[in-house]
Amino acid sequence: MPDLTLDHVVIGVRDLDQASADYALLLGRGPSWHGEHPKYGTRNTLFRIDNTYVELLAPAGKGRWSDDLRRFLEKGEGVYALALGTDDINAVVKDLRNRELPVESPADGDGLDRLGGGHRFWRNARVAEKHTNGVRIFFIQHFSPPDALPVAPVAAEGAHVTRMDHVVVLSPDLENSKRLWGGVLGARLALDRTFPERNTRILFFRLRDITIEISGGAVQTEEGMGKPDRLWGIAWGVDNLEAAVNRMRAAGVDVSDVRRGAKPGTLVATAKSHTHGVATLLIEHTPESFSPESRLPQGVAYDNDPGRRAFTATGLHHVALAVTDLDEARRLWRETLGVHANDILESPAVRLATARMPGGEAMVGLAQALTSQHRIAEWIEQRGPGMFAIAIQVDDVDAAVRDLRAKGVPATDPEYGAMPGTRVARLDAAATNGVSIQLVQRLPDLL
């Protein structure tokens, strides 16, 4: 099944204007959008942050979703639903139905920004919460460009919420939750740990860089079995917790003192007012929380944490083979393995032929140096022809170089690559187990 993301989190509120003002104080940034959905019978305010957006949703008149939202609000405000994002909602619905999750058929939706005049389009599909342990989940595919929803303007630079760190779900039946999030929804289980002294067991499921933290008792009780889960709270990431707490206090928000978080290297504080029924934690990751050592006590021995990363390695771009005669090498690869390296680039120093693979992203690159000083020529001189380097695609080569240098991996300054529309940097093989690695960022297509 295609990977799901946490597209956004919906908080059900009674008074939208009050809630919007309160969340502007909590987040330290203004709203991105003031929307209304006549079809749904709802109005909303959206705040788009680095890695997701939060939707404050209030009923307005009659529509498909307003009755359910009103029923929810009778019990109190709070996190109302999780919207899981996909690039292919039809495939997701089909796969989930195959896994016996009766998702409703996708329906078109759209929203208008009352103030900004914007118009956004999506398709979403609901699933009745009785099938998802009582948690309202819907699936959404957006058809408007990402910038159709503007980033929430920062009101207090440095003291604002930058990203969502995790969402907390309370579960009386963790095995049920594990089946839903891991088995059915396909989220990656990154941690399953029991703290007997606190009578707590927590599961971490990752949706790209946001964690769904599911928390319950260390021992499964009989009365808890089959009982519904509850969307409980949100942990917001900040760059500077002390600045954020000072800002919020000055604005009249009741915030706890800063304390050490359960994860080594983190600082946390709890907001106790203005939250509209959402348990609210603010979290700062200090440099120690990035180190491998800090992960070990958490029991995540073979995990890395995308949420803490400055960049993401998104794929293998190509494997580069050093050859002495490009035309001969092209013939060999074509005749032996049916690999057609037909895309040829030539610079004064190097000739490069690349072959795409029918079923994958990574390409084969055959490279012949045209001068004896070129590093490919030097490589062949020392080690003979053969596998020479790999190119790894990253989402942001500049951020990657800064981050890797800070972690002790020497890297060249990013520059435009031989392949059109790429920016590249090379890492020092002495720091990469002897592998020549080129980082490649594909630039947006200008044509």
Partner: protein, 143 residues
């Protein structure tokens, strides 16, 4: 025949040390880690888009990987291509008189595999693999 690059094999001195870079610094997810006694290697598979990085640490002397490490040091070892029908492809390679390391396919970490001789591909060690899908495996087990 070839569908995609399945993985790139990297020979390392120490898996623990290599994890510091590939897992912790580069941020790749480790989805498999096991010691394959009969091949004398500890192997880790890390996800990189729709391909993988395979880290190989020799745990016994006198294996191909140990000899490679001794003579050439750490670095790129092989590239593995996923194919649709490895038996047919191996037959075809034999028919073309391509120099092979494996005359028969065998079971590896990536499924049914075979290696071509590096002389056949101008110094590049090429592996072919056909992943064993669970359904087929299940069927075979109950045939």
């Amino acid at each position: 025949m070839i569908r995609k690059i399945h993985h790139v094999g990297v020979v390392v001195h120490s898996m623990d040390q290599a994890m510091r870079f590939w897992r912790d610094t580069l941020g790749l997810h480790v989805h498999k880690l096991e010691t394959i006694q009969e091949q004398g290697v500890k192997a880790a598979l890390l996800t990189l888009g729709d391909s993988e990085i395979e880290l190989l640490e020799p745990v016994a002397p006198d294996t191909g990987v140990a000899r490679y490490l001794q003579s050439r040091g750490e670095g790129l070892h092989h590239v593995c291509f996923e194919v649709d029908d490895i038996e047919a492809d191996l037959q075809e390679l034999k028919h073309k008189q391509v120099e092979l390391i494996d005359q028969q396919t065998r079971l590896g970490l990536a499924g049914r595999i075979c290696f071509l001789h590096p002389r056949a591909m101008h110094g590049a060690l090429v592996e072919l693999c056909q992943p064993i899908d669970d359904a087929a495996h299940h069927e075979a087990a109950h045939a």
